[in-house]
């Protein structure tokens, strides 16, 4: 393998990670009893002597809907929520996709500052549509680096390849995921949790950031979803709940619970569409004399990002035309110019127009074969998420429900507040959910 950045970008995130280990930028440390592979930054052992017993754990139940955490379906998670500080109004933020919301969790800032507005964008430097799965895609310092600079240690246990990629080598300790399900590109929750437990037991980082991907992956592919049955999805919910229970059990049995704060949330919700409720924008745009051949679409499930690639001086006319044409397509909820809809805060990488689907619809461009999966997110219907704090640390309010709004972007400020490590220049866009 040739060691040039260009080449390392051309391959997958996992391959790039292995490259870091081979070149000595990370050290593959003792694997746990279950054969878990964890790589660490050189000198990590020294940092672990920081004088605090506090521990923060962020568990992301990828794609979980708030109404799915019920005592019957998810008894452990439900009990954890009821015993902690629940935020029933919490939401994902645009675009309601996995990568941007995980980046918001760890950066505490919106995409116009972090540089990560969507899963999939048009990279204008190459003219290609690509996933935002590179370490350099995050343009700000995350809470992970902030903790590291304050002498605390961090760990990432990320089950999805593109999340592993975008957070890269930031954490003191990083799980090298295995095994990976070939099509979905994620590790099953049972292995992810095995890794999280091993990381806590062997390295005991102050912050561990865990993504459990099964609920999302089985939601996307659940063919009974549109019928309301969600058979595969429900099985995933039940099994992920067991994994959450294992994590809580470890914290309690190892005496960490009293020093711990857990933030349990989802990155986005999930919606299901019937096979006939497909939205095709590209044929409509292609036929327009102004737009034809001059628009690129980055597909983000229930959100399409439209990029004007024609004459830059005609951008305003093109945006107006894209909004007008898209809005008239059946199944489209709304189309927005991020420059005049400031609440989006998607920034220049997020497209010139953002088009949202109605609930029960999905984008499939250019044709009906392009997006075969029924489960879907990215549109406003998928913004409600579960979000609660739990744990035995005295700063975590118990048995409380808040009517305040909360969002994925609140995680970093909450963790920063917990450890007292301050805010970035310009402050956080989110707010700490801990009481003063």
């Amino acid at each position: 393998m040739v060691e040039s950045p260009r080449d390392s970008r051309a391959c997958g995130a996992f391959e790039r990670g292995r490259h870091e280990i081979r070149t000595g930028r990370r050290t593959l440390l003792a694997a746990g009893a279950a054969g878990v592979a964890i790589s660490s930054l050189p000198g990590a052992a020294l940092a672990a002597t920081a004088p605090t017993r506090k521990r923060a754990y962020v568990l992301v139940l990828d794609g979980c809907r708030p109404d799915e955490i019920t005592p019957t379906l998810m008894p452990r998670t439900s009990a954890l929520r009821d015993g902690g500080l629940n935020h029933p109004r919490a939401t994902s933020l645009p675009v309601m996709e996995t990568i941007p919301n995980h980046v918001m969790m760890m950066s505490g800032v919106r995409p116009d500052r972090s540089g990560v507005p969507a899963n999939s964008i048009l990279d204008r430097t190459t003219g290609e549509v690509r996933d935002m799965d590179r370490e350099s895609d995050i343009q700000v310092r995350t809470i992970i680096e902030r903790l590291n600079r304050n002498g605390l240690t961090t760990g990432t246990v990320l089950s999805k390849e593109y999340l592993y990629g975008v957070f890269g080598g930031r954490a003191t300790h990083r799980w090298e995921p295995a095994p990976i399900v070939p099509v979905s590109g994620h590790a099953p929750d049972v292995f992810t949790m095995e890794a999280a437990l091993a990381m806590v037991q062997e390295h005991d980082p102050h912050l561990v950031f865990v993504n459990l991907g099964d609920i999302d992956r089985l939601g996307h592919s659940d063919l009974t979803g549109p019928l309301g049955l969600k058979a595969a999805r429900q099985a995933a919910l039940a099994s992920t709940d067991v994994q959450v229970g294992r994590f809580v059990d470890l914290l309690k049995s190892s005496g960490r619970w009293e020093d711990s704060m857990l933030v349990v949330l989802a990155d986005h919700s999930m919606d299901w569409s019937l096979p006939h409720q497909l939205i095709h924008l590209s044929p409509v745009l292609a036929l327009d004399p102004l737009l034809g051949g001059n628009v690129t679409i980055a597909d983000n499930g229930g959100a399409d990002l439209l990029y004007w690639t024609g004459d830059p001086t005609r951008l305003d006319a093109a945006v107006a035309r894209m909004i007008a044409l898209s809005s008239a397509v059946p199944g489209v909820l709304s189309a927005h110019d991020p420059r005049v809809t400031p609440s989006l805060r998607t920034g220049p990488l997020g497209g010139d127009v953002i088009v949202y689907a109605q609930a029960g619809w999905r984008f499939s461009d250019p044709d009906q074969y392009s997006n075969p999966i029924p489960g879907n997110h990215g549109h406003p219907a998928t913004s409600p998420i579960p979000f609660f704090l739990a744990g035995g640390h005295r700063r975590v309010l118990g048995r409380t429900t808040s009517s305040r709004r909360a969002a994925t972007v609140d995680v970093a400020p909450t963790v920063a507040d917990f450890f007292g490590v301050g805010a970035p220049r310009g402050g956080y866009d989110g707010r700490s959910r801990l009481t003063r």
Binding site: P66, D67, N86, P88, R89, T91, L227, G228, L229, S269, L333, Q358, A359, G360, H379, P380, A381, T382, S383, P384, P386, T401, S402, S403, R404, R405
Partner: protein
């Protein structure tokens, strides 16, 4: 009915321990005039963080009776204090009234403090009114832990005593009372009373169906002399909307079932009814406490970050209800299309209120039921009695209630689609009209439910007195209705609770965790002193859009 002499100006001040006499009035007994100037009590309503509407009606001379158009113009003083003895008066003002507005007084007391209990009273010609109590709403930026409301609807004076109001007045824990309409009825004596025989427990005044402005004023005045309603008005602020009977039965934009050509122009009747309502109710219409400046009733009241209450007007802007044109058994809306129940402007406004930003709970004061209900499998012999309560069409086949949202499905679909598309949670419809208690999920697709999602929940309070199913069938409670309830629930899986038999009131408790409604039932409506007992409780946990049974009511009574 004329004002009872027992209702002197030693009038009702509902206190913590119930009704308490006002000492100050007794002290001036020697100078008492020949008649009582405050015969219709005092009331407050539409609480905002810094303002609340105060209301009374003065009778300055013996002849200045409601609807008479007689009597002098007078100046009335109003005062707001933090204590019941008015040592700490925080606001005071003077207002003129006279026969042009039927001697009613309505002021917006402003510059008050948020989430604060106040006492208020009026003075005219040296005579002081009973003392009322009210409460401002929490500050806009606050995060209340709890809000509690009384919820009532459908109080037909001829059908019995308003014991439900009395029991609510005895509670000390309410922010306000939400009245969902049918505050009064238009009928004359003998037309709609108690039970199957329509016995008048108390006859209406005037003794005929009300049509003119004077009629509506007199009817409002009669209701405001009821001791239980007076006590409730004096104790808690009201948040009201109307349903049909504030004008006449099954009214729509340009007509009503109970309006005949010989009763004159419908528009004039409606205008008279609306004017009397504006004069006699503690409500801001078109955004102000002034009368005669507009009759828009749909409006929003906010209670900090915890809840927002949007009160709907589902009568003034709706198209005519569907009918069954012979020989077709299929109901068809007037004009052959599915009409609007809200009107365009109100539906757009409501969609703006139901949003992800803003307060957590989106409460909607909804005069008629929004949950889809098919009565298809109800035993044929019981369709007519059910029809008396619910107004069903067609008479054969698969009946549904054409007077509620089921008769206006385009509007409902647009509203539910909006909720679903925008990911809106925690929408709770509070409903009256149907003289029965219901707790329902609101499925996007009732056919496949409980597969699929729900747009929110609906909690329906029963009637204060108006007849329900057992009254119409003439059978004992919990007999024939049980079959109807079971059949309806079997065929409507989203309806979790249904009680077609009892009268009473509800208490709504709002916390960040959940919204709970407690149903209380009263004894015999013909018994002036009927007791009250807890019947059932249902709640919706935040984020679930579903109702679930709860084992006990919240504190208080």
């Amino acid at each position: 009915m004329t004002p009872s002499s027992s209702l002197s100006r030693r009038a009702v001040l509902a206190g913590g321990a119930g009704a308490v006499a006002v000492a100050s009035a007794a002290a001036r007994a020697a100078a008492a005039p020949a008649h009582e100037p405050f015969q219709h009590g005092v009331a407050s309503g539409d609480p905002l963080p810094r303002a609340v509407v105060l209301w009374t009606r003065v009778t300055p001379t013996v002849g200045a009776t409601p609807g008479s158009g007689r009597g002098p113009r007078v100046t009335v003083t109003w005062e707001v204090a933090t204590d019941r003895r008015f040592r700490d008066v925080v606001r005071r003002g003077r207002v003129r009234t006279g026969p042009a507005r039927d001697h009613t007084v309505k002021v917006d007391a402003t510059r008050l403090r948020a989430d604060t209990a106040y006492f208020y009273r009026f003075t005219v010609r040296g005579e002081t009114s009973p003392v009322g109590r009210t409460r401002t709403a929490p500050a806009r930026s606050s995060s209340p832990d709890r809000l509690r409301f009384g919820v009532v609807s459908c109080a037909n004076l001829q059908a019995g005593w308003f014991s439900a109001y009395r029991h609510l007045a005895a509670r000390d824990d309410l922010q306000a009372v939400i009245h969902l309409g049918d505050y009064l009825y238009e009928y004359g004596p003998g037309e709609y009373g108690y039970g199957r025989a329509n016995t008048d427990v108390r006859p209406h005044a005037p003794a005929h169906e009300i049509v003119s402005l004077a009629d509506y004023r007199q009817r409002h005045a009669q209701y405001k002399t009821d001791p239980d309603l007076r006590a409730l008005h004096a104790r808690h602020p009201f948040i009201v909307t109307w349903d049909d009977h504030e004008v006449t039965n099954d009214q729509w934009r340009d007509g009503a079932e109970n309006h005949q050509p010989e009763e004159g122009d419908y528009a004039a009747r409606k205008a008279a009814a609306h004017r009397a309502y504006d004069e006699w109710m503690p409500v801001r219409m078109s955004g102000t406490a002034a009368t005669g400046d507009g009759t828009q009733l749909f409006r929003t009241l906010r209670f900090g970050g915890l809840a927002e209450l949007s009160m709907l007007d589902l009568r003034s802007h709706r198209d005519q209800q569907a009918a069954t044109p012979a020989p077709s058994p299929v109901p068809s809306p007037a004009g052959g299309r599915d009409g609007t129940i809200t009107g365009r402007a109100q539906l757009d406004w409501l969609k703006q209120r139901l949003r992800r930003g803003g307060p957590q709970w989106k409460l909607v004061g909804n005069p008629v039921m929004i949950a889809p209900v098919t009565f298809a499998q109800v035993p044929h012999d019981l369709v007519d009695p059910v029809n008396d309560v619910a107004g069903l069409l067609p008479r054969d086949g698969a009946p549904y209630n054409v007077d509620q949202w089921d008769g206006y499905t385009t509007d409902r679909r647009e509203l539910f689609t909006h909720i679903r598309d925008q990911g809106v949670r925690d929408v709770v419809f509070l409903t009256g009209d149907i003289h029965s208690g219901w707790a329902c999920d609101l499925p996007y697709d009732a056919a496949t439910y409980p597969l699929g999602d729900s747009a929110g929940v609906e909690l329906v309070c029963t009637s204060v007195t108006s007849n329900n199913l057992k009254d119409i069938t003439g059978t004992p409670a919990r007999t024939s209705s049980l079959a109807v309830e079971a059949v309806i629930q079997t065929n409507n899986r989203h309806i979790k609770y249904l009680n077609f038999d009892d009268h009473g009131y509800s208490v709504l408790d709002v916390t960040p965790e959940r919204v709970q409604m407690d149903w209380y039932v009263i004894g015999d409506r013909a018994d002036r002193n009927a007791g009250s007992s807890w019947s059932t409780s249902w709640a919706t946990r935040s984020g679930t859009n579903k109702v679930e049974a709860v084992s006990q009511p919240v504190g208080g009574a």
